[in-house]
Structure formats: structure tokens, C-alpha cells
């Protein structure tokens, strides 16, 4: 029985880390509310949240309409992209797989490019401002949804998972080329608005949009939770998974569906945000010292949310009035972490 207790200790270590993380996330959420181009002190923020009737109306407006949605979006984006990345790394058994490996983000880019560059080119630069944020969201969603459809159709017919991976990469390259052509033929102002979209942004999501984004991410994460047994079996490869009684095609479909919903929704609302989805699953595995997805899924949710909040705080450049594109911050934050993990674990082949 000694072994069992050790095993349980191992589990409780992971549990303690999860507990710690779930304290850190609200802490960084509050910290994220603090930063912004307009300085608001902590008591004012607390007052604006909890006793808004006594607070300065302008501060309440900033907090409720801008900072809370942005911080909340950061949590959703970090959690969604990280869980999507975890699923892709497990299913493809490839440490470099990420949420966009199936071509979801290029599908979304194509949708947005067609809308922004296409209509801009057709009707002149003035129309760009008229393209509402909802239009961009819808275009991105349709684009990534179509890619999802293609991927699910392919995965129902093709047995070999590596073929699916290669097809996914090829499809996304082909779509990127189309986007490049569109960019080449578009004028300066529309091109810039498209390029800004590709840099990612957490701040453009409104409260109403959140009411669509939040349930979408929730559905994606719930599917991932329900797939955690499938994901454990995928660790050994599809043949082993089948020999242990898993319906491989169904399981694969669930995982792809979840990944596309998560990555597609975030890309639709925030643009493509890179590197979080690749880095966070590695951090989670290293911190939790486990390969069990019943622990890794909550772990990546919390670490992903934390990473994204930190990225957002950094991108606000606290103390200054300008901001950085969040996409660059996530890359500059994530890459050193992954390099460190790779070098640290190189000898034991942990990756």
C-alpha cells in the first residue's frame, strides 16, 4: 500500500499546484484591471466594482466597459488556446503542435481578409470603418468553421493521423497564399487594418461579444474535459487506443471539434494569438509532473489564463500611455519559457 500512498501524494502535489494557480488567476485578474492608459487606484477599482453607485461614473465606465471585458477576454483566450494546444500535442503526439496546426487560424484569416481587403478594394477605403467588429467576427468564424468542416471530413475518411497532420499544414499554407494574394492587391489603408487584426487584440471585445465568446469557449472546454480519457489513451497512439476499446474516429472528432471551437472563437474575436497554445501545455506537464489529462486540462486552463493576463499586463506597458500588440508579447514571453524547458529536460528526453 506504500506505493498507493506515494501515488496519491503525487496526485495531491498536482492538486496543491492547481489550488495555488486558482488563487493566482483572480489576483492577476485584479492586477490586469489596474493597468491602462488612465491611472485608477486599487480602492477606486474595488469601489467601482462592488459599490458602483457611490463611485465616479467615468471610472465605473472604464472598468465595466473596457478593463473587465479585456481581462476576462484574456482569461478566456489563454485558457482556450492552451487547452486546444494540449489536445493537438496529445493527439498528434508532437510537442510542437499547437491550436492552429489544423489550419483554423488561416481559415479565420481568409474570412477576415476577404471581408476587410475584399470589400475595401471593391468599394474604396472609406468602407473599412463601416465594417463592424461583428462583421469581422462573423467572417473569421465562418472561415475557421469551413476549415473545421474540411478537417472533420478528412479525419472521417483517412485513417492515418500523420496524413491528417500533413493535410492540415498543407491546407493552411494554401489558405495563407490566398490571403497573401489578397494582401498584395489591396490598398494601404485596408492592408493596415488587416495587419493590425493579425497582431491580435484583447481590447476590442465588447461585453455583448463576450456573451457569445464565453459560452463558445465553455462548450469547447467542456468537450475537452469529457475527452480527457480519450486523450490519455491517445498518448500511446491510435493503435493502442483502439486495442483498449476506444472508438478512435469518434474520439478524434470530439477533440478536433473542441480544438476548432476554442481556437476558432478566440481567433474570431481577438485575432490569431500565437505561442500561448504551444508553450502552456509544456509548462503544465512540467509543473504538475503528470500526463493524465484529468489534471492537465484544468492545469492548462489555469496556467493559460495566468500567462495571458501577464501578457496583457505587459502589453499595457504599465506607466506609459502606449501599448504593444499582444501577439508579440505572448511570443516574447512564451519562447524563452519553452527554450528553458527544452534545455532543462533535454537529457531525460522529457519532451
Amino acid at each position: 500500500m506504500a506505493e498507493t500512498s506515494i501515488n496519491k501524494n503525487n496526485g495531491s502535489r498536482a492538486f496543491r499546484i492547481l489550488l495555488l494557480l486558482s488563487f493566482l488567476v483572480p489576483l492577476f485578474f485584479l492586477a490586469d484591471l489596474l493597468v491602462g492608459s488612465y491611472y485608477i487606484s486599487v480602492p477606486e477599482i474595488l469601489k467601482a466594482i462592488f459599490r458602483s453607485e457611490n463611485a465616479d461614473a467615468q471610472i465605473v465606465l472604464i472598468i465595466n466597459q473596457f478593463r473587465i471585458p479585456k481581462a476576462f477576454t484574456a482569461i478566456l483566450a489563454g485558457a482556450a488556446l492552451s487547452v486546444a494546444g494540449l489536445q493537438m500535442q496529445t493527439v498528434f503526439r508532437n510537442p510542437l503542435a499547437g491550436p492552429y496546426i489544423l489550419g483554423v487560424s488561416s481559415g479565420a484569416s481568409l474570412g477576415v481578409a476577404l471581408l476587410v481587403l475584399g470589400t475595401g478594394g471593391l468599394l474604396g477605403g472609406g468602407i473599412v470603418s463601416a465594417v463592424s467588429s461583428w462583421g469581422i467576427v462573423a467572417a473569421a468564424w465562418i472561415g475557421s468553421g469551413l476549415v473545421l468542416l474540411v478537417i472533420v471530413m478528412i479525419s472521417a475518411r483517412i485513417k492515418d493521423i500523420m496524413t491528417i497532420l500533413i493535410l492540415g499544414i498543407l491546407i493552411s499554407s494554401a489558405i495563407s497564399s490566398v490571403v497573401n494574394i489578397l494582401q498584395y492587391f489591396s490598398n494601404e489603408s485596408t492592408l493596415k487594418s488587416f495587419v493590425v487584426w493579425t497582431m491580435g487584440s484583447l481590447g476590442s471585445v465588447t461585453n455583448i461579444q463576450l456573451s457569445v465568446l464565453f459560452p463558445s469557449v465553455l462548450i469547447g472546454i467542456l468537450i475537452a474535459f469529457f475527452s480527457s480519457k480519450f486523450l490519455d489513451a491517445f498518448l500511446l497512439g491510435e493503435n493502442y487506443a483502439r486495442s483498449m476499446g476506444m472508438n478512435v474516429r469518434f474520439a478524434r472528432m470530439m477533440v478536433f471539434l473542441s480544438t476548432c471551437i476554442l481556437a476558432g472563437s478566440i481567433t474570431a474575436f481577438c485575432g490569431p494569438i500565437g505561442f500561448i497554445g504551444i508553450a502552456v501545455p509544456h509548462i503544465a506537464r512540467m509543473l504538475l509532473q503528470t500526463a493524465k489529462h484529468s489534471l492537465l486540462v484544468p492545469g492548462t486552463i489555469l496556467i493559460g489564463a495566468l500567462m495571458m493576463l501577464v501578457s496583457d499586463i505587459i502589453s499595457q506597458l504599465p506607466g506609459s500611455e502606449s501599448t504593444l500588440p499582444v501577439n508579440s508579447v505572448t511570443a516574447l514571453l512564451g519562447i524563452p519559457i519553452v527554450i528553458w524547458i527544452i534545455i532543462r529536460n533535454k537529457n531525460s528526453g522529457m519532451i
Binding site: T4, D232, L236, N239, S243, M244, V248, A291, G349, M350
Partner: protein, 338 residues
Amino acid sequence: MILEEKIIALNNATIGYKAKTHSVNVVKSGISVYALKGELVALIGGNGVGKSTLLRTIAGFQPSMGGDVLIRGKQVNAYREKELALIMSFVSTEIIRVPNLSVFDLVSLGRYPHTNWFGKLLDEDRAIVEEAIKSVGLKGYENRMVNCISDGERQKAMIARTLAQNTDVIVLDEPTAFLDLSNKYEIVHILHELASEKGKTILFSTHDLTTAIAESDRIWVMLNDSVKQGSPEDLILNGDFASLFHSEHLFFDQEKGDFRIRKQTKQKAIVRGQGLAVDWTIKALERNGFEIIDSDTTSDGAAYVTIDVVYPEWTVIDQEQTAKFGSLLSVCRYLKGF
């Protein structure tokens, strides 16, 4: 007489791949072999003869192209994944290297078809997993990570996983392929114990004749044109093993039960003396291309050398000269000059 149940049975089965829409790439056809309850069955055959295809067909990973492939009397492809997983478990040749996966967690994956949607282990499941780990001799390894243990230990863990899956049939594709000698023997011995003590039917492919002959109850020999079966001894006696490799350089030694390399003999030698040292002296001479002849059959006048063995001393007598040596290594060096 009690009719014994054929747990695995192939009747005139054809294995292969679907090449295009209507054609089939047949690897082998007319396969009729079976395995009974509690038997350890070794599948033997040369590279590329279709061992893996046969095992994959039996495991249900690919459909048979004709005939019957029956697991407990039912076509393997007629089972649903989960049904089959309760009867048969599988170990492939692939080396599993998953970061941060402990031996306990790997073995507990075997409980997959028995646990609920979330894979939650009950106390009963934990007990089965621990028992499985113990019975392959990995007790104390529960919290070791699978990519930080040796190949032999990892293979034992994979076998423990099939035990946790608690199936009547276990199919293993070359479980001893990349193991050292002692691990090879140990793994095959564990399989033998599981078959005879727990009544499991275990089918494994191997290139290692010696261990297969020593431990298996039944051997399926995959030849180029057919698949034969029998006890290892039957197959040695009736010469089926000998037809496994058609090569002028190899011959099957029916006494030793293994293949040996045929040497071109150029010279003759007589070995005199007694004991084990004589046997090994003969082996050393054979390796160096000498034909060993009896001392009474030297009347044909051919040239030969005589070696007197009084361990630890060898005396090599040629027509005109005599030399003494303290080891077979120096004897061989000397004889190379002939």
C-alpha cells in the same frame, strides 16, 4: 475426450491490404492455424514474410481479406472496439516515450475498457493495477516515469498494462526485439507463466528461436508459401524449421534447435582428449574452416593436423613440427597461418 476451445482460430484466412478500390494486395493466403486456452504461441518467420500483418489482422487493426479470423468463435471484425478490448489486448513494436507518464498511470490505462467515461480508478481498479505491476516484477517502480526506465522495464510495464486490461488473449508484436539476452529470457518466461498459471492465450512474434523453443507450447511458422503449426519439438523433428530459411549459408541444427552458419571446410583436423575443452576446441576449429575427422578415418592420405587437448594446454602436431599453446585464441592464430 473434451473438445478444447480454440480461442484464436484462422480458417483458410487471407491477409493483406486493400491496394486500390477493387484490388487487394495479398500478403499471404490459406492460413489455417489456431491457439487453445492457456497456450503460449510463438509466431516465427523471416523479415517481410507478413508476421506483423498477421498479428494486426488478428488484433482487428486491419480487416482480413478472406477466410475466417475467429476470436472465441466470432469474426474479429464483427466485434465492437469495446467488446474486443475486454477479450484481447495488444503490445506493438513501438517504443512508448511519453513525458511525465508514470508506470502506474501507464499500467492503469489498461483499465480503459473497465472504467467510466472519465476513466476514474476505483479501489478495485487500483488493486488490479498494483497486482499487474507486481506480477511482472516491477513492484517499486510505480512512480518512475516510463521514459526514464530501461527498455526491458518498459516492455514489462506494457505487459502489465495488458494484465490490467484483464483479457483472455494477449497479442504481442516482437516483445523482445530490442532487449538484451537476460531480458529476452525473462520476458518470454513471464509470458509462459501468465499462459500456464492464469490460463491466458498469448500470441507473440519473435526472431529468437532459442527462447521460443524453450518456452512456447505451440509455434506458428510462417514460411514463404504456407503457415505451419505444431509444438516446437514436432517442428524440429519434421523439418519444418529447416525450411524457414532457404540459404546455402545457413543450416538448421536439429540437435541444438537453432540455425547455424555453414562453413566452407578447407582443411582437416583430428582432436584428441577428453571433457568440455574438446567440444569447444572443435567449435573453434570449425569456425576457422576445419573439418573434424576421426583418427581412424585418415587412411585416404589427406593432409591433416592433430590437436591434443590437456586443458589448459593445447598441442598442435603438424607433419614436421609441434607447438604448444595456453589458449584457444593462440591456437587459432597459429592455425590461420596454415
